[in-house]
């Protein structure tokens, strides 16, 4: 991302944040109307967690088809960001839950499903840590991501609808639940966070690529340090 885009993103997020506190009215109908502003940050993070998971599955599939190392890097970077946003969604959600439901953790289906999602991501990285060879690591983690995908679809879309929940469902897209002002602010913040997501994605990817280049150079050139250390 070029400098202009970065600055625009920063300004946008700052603007939305300010608006969330100054422009957005306290949400009536909540136990603690003032603190309800946090949905504006909470929900975009939660959605980005799913987006990251989708991106991860998408690149995993393409890696298996094409076997290009770059695709594997993209998949793993997406998973890293997914984990990050899952933590953010959980932290904001827990703060909110403390105010609204009186307890930071209630084993609400949404809470359960995000924990499971984090477990999948964690398992994904444990798996990556368990395989030395880069090609094998890429294949196995891609396969795992694709195996976990149907399970995650189930946990995210089917389970919260089977089990009763404290969480509101279907408020984002159907008109009934969310106040339009809230919806605008929320989606504006989402757009800002999406830009951050893309920026971080490309940044991490560049780091990964550089690391791969360093590794390759180390392999092809004789190690210079060895001769120097000789006692």
């Amino acid at each position: 991302m070029n400098a202009v885009a970065k600055i625009l993103t920063g300004v946008w997020i700052a603007g939305v944040t300010v608006a969330a506190f100054l422009w957005l009215p306290p949400a009536q109908g909540f136990r603690s109307p003032e603190s309800a502003r946090i949905v504006v940050f909470h929900v975009p993070c939660a959605i980005l967690t799913f987006v990251a998971f989708l991106v991860n599955a998408w690149y995993s599939w393409f890696y298996l088809r094409r076997r290009e190392p770059l695709l594997d890097m993209k998949a793993s970077v997406a998973a890293e960001l997914g984990l990050l946003f899952a933590v953010l969604a959980t932290v904001t959600g827990s703060l909110f839950a403390m105010e609204q439901w009186g307890s930071a953790w209630n084993w609400d289906p949404r809470e359960t499903s995000i924990v499971m999602l984090m477990l999948v991501y964690a398992a994904y990285f444990v798996l990556r840590g368990a395989v030395e060879e880069s090609g094998k690591r890429a294949r196995l983690s891609a396969a795992y991501a694709l195996l976990a995908f149907p399970a995650m679809v189930f946990l995210i879309w089917i389970m919260p609808r089977i089990v009763e929940s404290l969480h509101p469902t279907n408020t984002l897209f159907t008109g009934s639940g969310l106040d339009p002002v809230y919806r605008i602010t929320l989606w504006s913040f989402f757009v800002g966070m999406m830009a951050v997501f893309v920026w971080m994605f490309r940044l991490r990817l560049r780091v990964e690529m550089l690391e791969a280049r360093v590794r390759r150079r180390r392999q092809t050139e004789p190690e210079p340090t060895l001769t120097g250390v000789q006692p």
Partner: protein
């Protein structure tokens, strides 16, 4: 020789060989069973009737035990091949589809054997009153089969990594969670007096649907896991 009969024949050969290995080493099934039996007895000890644990908790516990016992056994079919370095020989002789189907069949057989012993013991020791027997048996069969379907491919992944035993639990848990949750839910329906089949049909559909999704998905990625 047609292609379809070819993978079926291969799968049969792999299944037969695995059964023979099992018979020879005699320990896989015995140990999985003893593991499950130990946990069931321990639970019976901890949650004996006076402690008054709800039927819901008991349903969860039954499936958690089955799941942990499965972890002890299900990844073995692939791990043993890699550890003993026979995987390459198998790769040379059998198509990935044949290997997967053969191993899946073995794992399903293992799960059934596990349930045949564990479940009656559990019902007995924890004094669970089952109201809807036919439903309960169906749930156990479908649930254990779904667990095997969900985790067989994960076993293949684990076999390629280090620190297998423990890794399998970690990787299998998220994938096995949907059938686990649904089976728990359906088991409650079979134990409680009301509801019964009516309450559980949705669950059974989800279980079957899950298998219909996860087996093709596994087949699709298995080739990439199995071949270097």
């Amino acid at each position: 020789m047609s292609r379809s009969s070819s993978w079926a024949r291969e799968a049969l050969a792999v299944f037969g060989k695995d059964c023979l290995l099992e018979l020879r080493t005699r320990v896989a099934l015995g140990a999985v069973l003893l593991f499950a039996v130990t946990s069931v007895v321990a639970s019976g000890f901890a949650l004996a009737p006076p402690s008054g644990v709800a039927g819901e908790v008991k349903a969860s516990l039954l499936w958690v035990i089955v799941f942990f016992a499965a972890i002890a056994g299900l990844s073995r079919v692939f791990v043993v091949e890699e550890e003993t370095r026979t995987a390459d020989a198998l790769r040379l002789a059998v198509s990935p589809t044949g290997v997967f189907v053969g191993k899946l069949a073995f794992n399903i057989a293992l799960m059934w054997a596990l349930c045949v012993v564990t479940v009656p013991l559990y019902l007995l020791l924890l004094e669970v009153p089952v109201r809807h027997w036919s439903l309960f048996v169906t749930v156990v069969i479908l649930g254990s089969t779904a667990l095997a379907c969900a985790t067989t491919a994960v076993g293949a992944i684990v076999a390629k990594a280090t620190m297998r035993g423990a890794l399998f639990g970690v990787l299998a848990f998220p994938v096995a969670l949907p059938p686990l949750l649904v089976a728990i839910h359906a088991t409650k329906a079979a134990w409680l007096s009301e509801g019964g089949w009516r309450m559980a049909t949705g669950d059974l559909q989800v279980l079957v649907g899950f298998m219909l999704v996860i087996v093709p998905a596994s087949l699709l990625v298995f080739e990439h896991i199995w071949s270097e």
